[in-house]
Amino acid sequence: MFTGATLAVSAVLFAIGTIGVLLRRNAIVIFMCVELMLNAVNLAFVAFAERLGVAGQIFVFFVMAVAAAEAAVGLAIILAVYRHKETVDLQHINLLKG
């Protein structure tokens, strides 16, 4: 009954997450914005699951598992980079820059 409204909220949250990724330089905050985008998509999945059956909710379950794995590995990478560079500011992590 809230399908359209939920999809609108989901679109807004996704856009806010994208703006966050574009606006910030701190690697951890960018990572949190990516989590926000994942959650926006989860919201769309649950909205569709309400109309089309429980499979959407199960996909959300898998997205959460992948997000947990991603957070663990991603934060470990950020820790390793911090140990090497003493910063998480992406402006200073530019080895690939020409």
Partner: protein, 173 residues
């Protein structure tokens, strides 16, 4: 549908968007993380209203409880709590915001999606599943039946992630 449900729904939807906006604009990463926790709680409420109470509980336990604690732990470990702002310059911020608003216009037609009547569940079908199979059972049934193989692969993925995280974060193996 009781009218109060509509009020609760919109209150938490607006709160989720506001908290997300606070999350991306706070200078302190710690404040950012806590505003994100607020957003995740609001989304959990929306899940519950959308007949997915088990997913809502998982959202609080796994996302707000486990993943965000990991984020907070790393922020405190690296002592980033007092870092002075990492927002990009004025031009970069303006361009980023414009691109984000363009993206919003690009994805917003999703809100007007019309689902073909042929594949829509009959009204109250999900409700009756929740009543008959239980809140957990309605998700766990298909998960351990139709989706058993993806479920097992997920456990493999989590094991690989744990090993990978330990190897990456350890100073000396």
């Amino acid at each position: 549908m009781p009218p109060i449900l509509s009020v609760v729904y919109w209150a938490f939807a607006v709160l989720a968007v506001l908290a997300a906006a606070m999350c991306i604009t706070r200078r302190n990463p710690l404040a950012s993380a806590l505003w994100l926790v607020q957003t995740l709680f609001c989304i959990a409420v929306l899940f519950t209203i959308l007949h997915a109470p088990f997913i809502g509980v998982l959202q609080v336990l796994v996302y707000a409880g486990a993943i965000m604690v990991l984020f907070l732990f790393v922020i405190m470990l690296l002592n980033l709590g007092r870092s002075s702002g990492d927002l990009k310059g004025l031009v970069a911020s303006a361009v980023g915001t414009i691109l984000g608003v363009l993206l919003l216009f690009y994805v917003s037609p999703i809100a007007r999606t019309s689902i073909p009547d042929a594949i829509v569940l009959p009204a109250g079908a999900l409700d009756s599943t929740l009543v008959h199979q239980g809140v957990v059972g309605s998700v766990a049934g298909p998960l351990f039946d139709t989706y058993l193989v993806p479920f097992e692969i997920t456990s493999l993925l989590l094991t690989a992630a744990i090993v990978g995280a330990v190897v990456l974060a350890k100073r000396k193996l």
